[in-house]
C-alpha cells in the first residue's frame, strides 16, 4: 500500500509528462487534481487503518535491491511519518488547486509537481538510510526546475542557490549515514536505532555534526538559512506552499528520526546548544521579518522563526516535547501554506507584494475583503491565538522544553510575541487604510482562488479546538523514541530533566 504514495504520483507524472501532443492547461490540471485527490483519499484510508497504540513500523514493505551495497527497498510508516505524509498529500492537492490555470508548459509543470510529491513521500516512508537519501536528493531536482522555470525575475539565482545549498546538505547527511554504517559494521542501511548504542559519545558527536549541519540547511536554521527567502520570493505560490509546508519538514523529520533516534547520547550532550541555537534562530527570523517590505519575505522569515521551535522541542527530548515537535511541524505546514496561498492571491490580483504600495485591501466593494479576513485569521493563527492550531502546538513545545531549557524557551516565547508585531505591520499596511485609486479595479477573486485557503483554515480551526485528533497519531512513537533506546540513554535525558529545576533552585 505504501508504495502507492511513491509510484502513483510518479506514474501520474509520466502519464502527464509523456502524453503525446500539447494539452491545454485546464485539462492537465483537472487530471492532476484527480490524481492528487486519489492520493489524499488513499492517505485518509491509511490513517484509519493505522494503529495508534503501537509504537512500531507499520505496513512494512521490503524488497532486496542492491545487496552488495546493502541498499534495500524498505518502506514503513509510524507516528512520526504519518502526519507528515498526510501533510504532503494534502498540500500537493492544494498546490495543484492553487496553480495558475493558464501557466506555460502545464504538462512539464504538473509532472514535476508529482515527482516532487513522490520524492517527499518516499523520504518520509523510507526505512533505509540510503533509500531516504535517494528520495531526499530526488526531491531537489524537480524543485530546482519548478523555481528556475516558473519563478520570478531572479529565479536563476534563487534556484541555483537552493540547489547548491541542498546538495551540500545531502552530502553531509550521506556522510553521516555512511560513517554510521561503516563504524558500526552493519551489513545494510536499514533503520536500526540500536545500532549506535555501542558507539562512544565522541564518535556519536562526530557523526552527528555533519548530519546536523546538513539538516539545519534544510530546515533552515540560522546561519544556514539564506537560500530560503530567495527561493520563496522567486518561486510561484504553489511551489512556496509545498516548500514551506512539506519540504522543510524533511529536515525536522530527519532531526527526530536520525538525530534523536540514532544518536541520543550525543544529542543529549548537544541539547543545550541546540536549544540556544533554536532561540537565536527564532529571534533572528522574527527580527528580520519585521524589517522586510515584501509580504512573501515576511512569511518566509516567519517560517524560519517557527521552524526553530521544532528544534527547541527536539532538543528537550521528552515524550511531550517530541510529540509537540511533530505537532508543530503539522501546524507550521498548515499555517505557512495558508499564508503563502493568501499572499499569492493578493499578488495575483494586484501584481505586487510590496507593503508600501498596497493599502486598504479590506474594502468591501472593490478590495479583497474575504482574502483579507482569511489573512487576518491566518496571521492570528501564526501568532498563536488560542482556538487555532498554532497556539496549542506552540504551547506544547514550550511546555515540553521549559523544564529543561527555561531561558531558551522564554526567548522563543519572545519570538512568538514578535510574530504579532511583523504580521500586524503587514495587515495594517496592506489591508487597513483607504483603498487607493490604482488598486480600485482589481480582477474579481474566483471561488477556486479561495477554496484551498478555506480547506486549510478549517483544518487549522479543527486541530486547534481538538488537538487530540492530531496528537494521538504521534504520541506513542515519540515516547518510544526516547524510552526504547536502552535504559541508560533514556535515563540520561530524564536525569537531565529532573536535574535542571533543581539547579535553578540551588542557584537562587
Amino acid at each position: 500500500m505504501l508504495s502507492a504514495f511513491i509510484w502513483l504520483p510518479l506514474l501520474g507524472a509520466a502519464l502527464i509528462g509523456f502524453w503525446p501532443g500539447n494539452r491545454a492547461g485546464e485539462k492537465v490540471r483537472s487530471i492532476a487534481l484527480i490524481i492528487a485527490s486519489g492520493l489524499l483519499s488513499l492517505n485518509i484510508i491509511l490513517g484509519f487503518q493505522f494503529d495508534t497504540k503501537v509504537a512500531e513500523i507499520q505496513f512494512s514493505e521490503y524488497f532486496s535491491w542492491i545487496e552488495w551495497l546493502g541498499l534495500n527497498y524498505h518502506l514503513g510508516i509510524d507516528g512520526l511519518s504519518l502526519p507528515l505524509l498526510f501533510l504532503n498529500s494534502l498540500l500537493t492537492l492544494m498546490a495543484i488547486a492553487s496553480s495558475n490555470k493558464s501557466l506555460e508548459r502545464p504538462q512539464l509543470y504538473y509532472s514535476l509537481l508529482f515527482v516532487l510529491s513522490a520524492g517527499a513521500a518516499g523520504a518520509f516512508l523510507a526505512q533505509d538510510l540510503l533509500l531516504f537519501f535517494l528520495f531526499y536528493e530526488l526531491e531537489i531536482v524537480p524543485l530546482y526546475f519548478l523555481i528556475a522555470i516558473w519563478g520570478g525575475k531572479r529565479r536563476g539565482y534563487a534556484a541555483m542557490k537552493f540547489l547548491l545549498y541542498t546538495a551540500v546538505s545531502g552530502f553531509l547527511v550521506l556522510a553521516s549515514f555512511l560513517g554510521l554504517v561503516w563504524l558500526t559494521g552493519a551489513s545494510n542501511f536499514d533503520y536500526a536505532p540500536l545500532l549506535s548504542n555501542n558507539l562512544p559519545v565522541e564518535t556519536q558527536l562526530l557523526l552527528l555534526a555533519p548530519l546536523l549541519v546538513g539538516l539545519f540547511i534544510k530546515i533552515p536554521i540560522f546561519p544556514f538559512h539564506t537560500w530560503l527567502p530567495d527561493a520563496h520570493v522567486e518561486a510561484s505560490t504553489p511551489i512556496s506552499v509545498l516548500l514551506a509546508g512539506v519540504l522543510l519538514k524533511l529536515g525536522t523529520y530527519g532531526l527526530l528520526r536520525f538525530g534523536v533516534g540514532f544518536f541520543l547520547d550525543g544529542w543529549v550532550v548537544l541539547a543545550p546548544w541546540l536549544a540556544s541555537l533554536a532561540a537565536v534562530s527564532a529571534l533572528y527570523g522574527a527580527c528580520c521579518a519585521i524589517a522586510q517590505q515584501d509580504m512573501k519575505k515576511v512569511v518566509a522569515y516567519s517560517s524560519i522563526a517557527h521552524m526553530a521551535y521544532i528544534l527547541l522541542a527536539a532538543a528537550a527530548t521528552t515524550p511531550l516535547s517530541l510529540t509537540a515537535a511533530v505537532f508543530q511541524m503539522v501546524s507550521h505546514g498548515l499555517i505557512s501554506a495558508l499564508l503563502f496561498l493568501l499572499v499569492g492571491v493578493v499578488y495575483n490580483k494586484t501584481g505586487t507584494r510590496d507593503v508600501n504600495s498596497l493599502r486598504g485591501l479590506l474594502n468591501p466593494q472593490r478590495g479583497l475583503p474575504l482574502v483579507g479576513s482569511l489573512m487576518i485569521l491566518g496571521v492570528m493563527a501564526s501568532s498563536g491565538i488560542p482556538g487555532m492550531v498554532g497556539f496549542i502546538a506552540e504551547f506544547l513545545v514550550f511546555r515540553g522544553s521549559f523544564p529543561l531549557f527555561p531561558v531558551q524557551t522564554l526567548l522563543c516565547l519572545v519570538g512568538t510575541g514578535l510574530t504579532a508585531v511583523y504580521f500586524l505591520l503587514v495587515i495594517n499596511r496592506v489591508f487597513f487604510g483607504r483603498l487607493p485609486d490604482h488598486l480600485a479595479h482589481l480582477p474579481p477573486v474566483q471561488f477556486g482562488d479561495r477554496a484551498p485557503a478555506f480547506v486549510l483554515m478549517t483544518l487549522i480551526f479543527l486541530l486547534g479546538l481538538q488537538p487530540s485528533w492530531m496528537v494521538r497519531w504521534s504520541e506513542a512513537q515519540a515516547t518510544s523514541l526516547v524510552t526504547q533506546n536502552g535504559k541508560l540513554l533514556s535515563q540520561v535525558s530524564i536525569d537531565a530533566r529532573r536535574a535542571r529545576p533543581a539547579t535553578i533552585i540551588v542557584n537562587d
Binding site: F145, Y157, L206, H225, T226, A291, I392, R399
Partner: protein, 632 residues
C-alpha cells in the same frame, strides 16, 4: 426545567458565539437583499436568550443554596501532561455572567440606533457576539488555560472592533497599538502559564490554590511567576505602563466602547482576582499590584482632567478605578475587588451610553464645543448625572457602599489607602463635574443647537440602565452570598475606619465644588500662565508616555530589526554569495544553453539524477570510506 437550565448553564457563552456565526452570511455578502439588519436581530435574540437563561439559572442556584457545579473536560492528554478545561457554576460566576450578558444586551440594543447608518452592521454584531462569548466564558471559566484562551479571544476581537472603521488612519494605529500592547501583557502571561504548568499540578484555579498553599518554590522564581501572571491583566485593564491603548481605542465605535470600558477591562481584573492565591506566594507580587494600581490611579486621574474628547475624558477614569481594583487584590481584599468591578462597570457603562447619545446627536466629541444640552436631552442628562453619582463616593449609590464596606472595620486598612481613595474620588468628582458643566450647562453652541433626544433604540437601554444604577445598592445586599463571608474582625476603634466615610463624602463634595468653580475654556482657548499650560499639556498628552515608548521600546525593536536585516543581507548572505560566485557564473552561462523545449529540461533532469545516483553508488562511497578510515 429551571434545574435543567442550571445544569447546562455552561452553554451560555455559546449563545454569543452562535450569534456571531449567524451574522456570517450577511457580513460575507452572501445575503444582500435584506440589508444587514437581520444579522443584528439574530444577535440581539441570542444575547437575550443568554440573559434569560442566565437569570433562570441564577434563580435556580439561589434556591439551592451552596450549590456549586464544576465541570471538567479533559481536553488534551499528552505524555505526562493533562490539560483540562474546567468550568465553575456558582452564584458568583453566574452573577458575573449576568452582568456581562445584561450590559452586552443593552450595548447591542444601543448599537442598533448608534450604527443605524453603517454598512457593516453585520460585521459589527458578529464581533460583539464574539466579545460577549469570550467575556461570558471568562466569567465561568475555572481554569487558567481556558481563561487565557478567552483573554486572547478578547484581544483579537478588541483589535477588530477598534479597527472597525479601518479606513481611517487614526483607527489603524489605534487597533495596532491595542493589539500589541495587550499582546505584550499576554505573552508575559503565557510565560507564566507555561512555567506554572511545568511546576504545578494543574491549571484549574482550585488546583493552583492548593498548589500555592504547599508550594516549595524558591523566592525568586515565585516572584517572577507572580509578576508574569500580573502582566496579562495589566495590559487588559489598561494599567501603567500598558495603559495607552484604552485611550487610543476610543477611536472605535461607541457601543463597543461601552463594553470595553465596563466589562472588558474587568475581565482582566477578574482573572487577576481568581489568581490571587498564587500572588500570596511572594510578597513581591502583592507589592507590584499595589504599586501598579497606585501609580495608575493617580496618573490617570490627572490625565482625565485635561482631556477635551468626551470619550477620552471618561476612559482615563476607567484605568483609575481598575487601579483601585489592583490595589484591593494586592491587599487580598477580594470581596472589595469584586464589588468595585461591579459598581464601576454599571456606572461606567451608563456614562458611555450617555456619551454615545451626545456623539450621535451632535456628531462631535469635543466637549469644549458643546453646551446647554440639559433641557434638550433630558434622558441623556439624567443618565450622565446618575452614572457620575454611581461612580463617585458622594450619594448613597454603588461606589459609596463599596467604599463604605471597605472601611467598615472588617478589612485591614490604613491611611495611605484612604489617601489614594480620597485623591481619586476628588479628582473623579472634579472631572465629571467639569465635563457636565461643559456639555450640559451654559449656552448652546454652534454644534449643539439642533439636538433632539435620541431615538428609542438608544434611549431605552440608557433609561433602563439609569434605573438599574439607582437600584444597584440593593443588589449586593439582596444577595450577600455572592461574596465570601467576611471575617468578623471589626476594628471599629481605628481612627481611619471611623473617619473614612465622612472624609470620602467630603472629598466628593470638594471635588464637585472645585468642578463647579474651576474656570472653563471653550474652543481652543488656553491658559496664559506658563505652569498651567505646562500641566495641561503634560496631562493632555498622557505624561508624554507615547513619546517615551517611541524613543525606547519601539526604537529598540525597529533598529534591532533593521540591524538584523542588514546583517542578514550583507554579512550572512554576502559571505554565501562570495563563496558561490563562481558557481553562479557557470549557472548563468548554462542559461544561454536553454532552447526552451521541455524535452531539454527532462534530459537535464535525467542526467542530473543519474549523476547524483552515480555519485552515491560509486564515487562517494569509496571517497567517504577513505575519509572515515583516515580519521580512525
Amino acid at each position: 426545567m429551571a434545574d435543567f437550565l442550571f445544569q447546562i448553564s455552561w452553554f451560555i457563552p455559546f449563545y454569543g458565539l452562535l450569534g456571531a456565526v449567524l451574522t456570517l452570511p450577511w457580513s460575507l455578502g452572501m445575503i444582500r437583499r435584506t440589508g444587514p439588519r437581520p444579522a443584528a436581530y439574530f444577535n440581539l435574540l441570542m444575547t437575550f436568550l443568554a440573559f434569560v437563561h442566565g437569570s433562570l439559572a441564577f434563580r435556580a442556584i439561589w434556591h439551592q443554596k451552596d450549590q456549586q457545579l464544576q465541570i471538567v473536560y479533559h481536553w488534551l492528554q499528552v505524555a505526562d501532561l493533562d490539560l483540562s478545561l474546567a468550568i465553575e457554576i456558582s452564584p458568583l460566576t453566574l452573577g458575573a455572567m449576568e452582568v456581562v450578558t445584561g450590559i452586552g444586551l443593552l450595548a447591542q440594543l444601543f448599537a442598533l440606533g448608534y450604527l443605524e447608518k453603517d454598512w457593516s452592521l453585520a460585521r459589527f454584531y458578529g464581533l460583539m457576539g464574539l466579545f460577549e462569548a469570550a467575556l461570558s466564558g471568562i466569567a465561568i471559566s475555572d481554569s487558567l488555560l481556558l481563561s487565557y484562551g478567552f483573554l486572547e479571544m478578547l484581544t483579537l476581537s478588541t483589535y477588530l472592533l477598534v479597527g472597525f472603521w479601518y479606513a481611517q488612519p487614526l483607527v489603524v494605529t489605534a487597533a495596532r497599538d491595542a493589539f500589541l500592547t495587550k499582546r505584550v501583557g499576554d505573552i508575559i502571561l503565557l510565560m507564566g502559564v507555561v512555567a506554572i504548568s511545568s511546576y504545578g499540578e494543574g491549571l484549574t484555579f482550585s488546583q493552583l490554590e492548593s498548589w500555592a498553599a504547599t508550594s516549595p518554590l524558591p523566592p525568586l522564581t515565585s516572584a517572577l511567576l507572580g509578576l508574569s501572571l500580573i502582566a496579562g491583566p495589566t495590559g487588559k485593564c489598561a494599567q501603567f505602563p500598558l495603559n495607552l491603548w484604552l485611550d487610543e481605542a476610543m477611536e472605535g465605535p461607541n457601543p463597543a466602547g461601552i463594553m470595553r470600558n465596563s466589562i472588558v477591562v474587568s475581565a482582566g481584573a477578574y482573572v487577576l482576582i481568581k489568581l490571587q492565591p498564587v500572588f500570596t506566594l511572594s510578597p513581591v507580587s502583592s507589592s507590584a499590584l499595589i504599586i501598579i494600581g497606585t501609580v495608575t490611579a493617580i496618573a490617570t486621574s490627572l490625565m482625565a482632567l485635561a482631556q477635551i474628547d468626551i470619550k477620552r475624558a471618561l476612559c482615563h477614569s476607567t484605568s483609575a478605578y481598575l487601579g483601585l481594583v489592583f490595589i484591593s487584590v494586592g491587599l487580598g481584599h477580594i470581596d472589595i475587588a469584586f464589588l468595585l468591578l461591579f459598581t464601576h462597570a454599571i456606572a461606567k457603562a451608563l456614562l458611555f451610553m450617555s456619551a454615545g447619545s451626545l456623539i450621535m446627536t451632535t456628531s462631535n466629541q469635543n466637549i469644549t464645543e458643546m453646551g446647554g444640552l440639559w433641557s434638550r436631552m433630558p434622558a441623556t442628562t439624567t443618565a450622565f448625572v446618575v452614572g457620575s453619582a454611581g461612580l463617585i463616593c458622594l450619594l448613597p449609590l454603588g461606589t459609596f457602599w463599596t467604599l463604605a464596606r471597605w472601611f467598615n472595620g472588617s478589612w485591614a486598612v490604613n491611611w495611605w489607602l484612604l489617601g489614594i481613595l480620597l485623591f481619586v474620588n476628588t479628582l473623579s468628582a472634579l472631572n465629571l463635574t467639569r465635563v457636565f458643566r461643559l456639555v450640559f450647562l451654559g449656552k448652546p453652541q454652534m454644534k449643539t443647537r439642533r439636538t433632539p433626544e435620541v431615538a428609542w433604540p438608544m434611549a431605552f437601554p440608557m433609561v433602563s440602565l439609569t434605573v438599574f444604577n439607582l437600584i444597584t445598592p440593593a443588589i449586593p445586599m439582596l444577595w450577600p452570598f455572592w461574596l465570601s463571608p467576611t471575617t468578623p474582625l471589626y476594628n471599629n476603634d481605628q481612627v481611619v475606619v471611623q473617619l473614612a466615610v465622612p472624609l470620602l463624602i467630603t472629598s466628593g463634595l470638594v471635588g464637585c465644588v472645585l468642578g463647579l468653580t474651576v474656570e472653563l475654556r471653550r474652543g481652543w482657548a488656553r491658559p496664559t500662565q506658563f505652569y498651567l499650560r505646562f500641566f495641561q499639556d503634560l496631562f493632555a498628552y498622557d505624561f508624554y508616555l507615547e513619546r517615551v515608548y517611541n524613543l525606547t521600546v519601539v526604537w529598540a525593536v525597529s533598529s534591532l530589526s533593521k540591524l538584523t536585516a542588514w546583517v542578514d543581507r550583507y554579512l550572512v548572505d554576502g559571505a554565501v554569495n562570495l563563496v558561490s560566485l563562481a558557481t553562479i557564473l557557470s549557472g548563468n552561462s548554462l542559461k544561454y544553453n536553454v532552447s526552451g523545449q521541455s524535452q531539454f529540461y527532462i534530459l537535464t533532469m535525467v542526467v542530473g539524477i543519474s549523476v547524483l545516483l552515480g555519485l552515491v553508488i560509486s564515487g562517494q562511497w569509496s571517497v567517504l570510506i577513505n575519509y572515515w578510515s583516515s580519521i580512525y
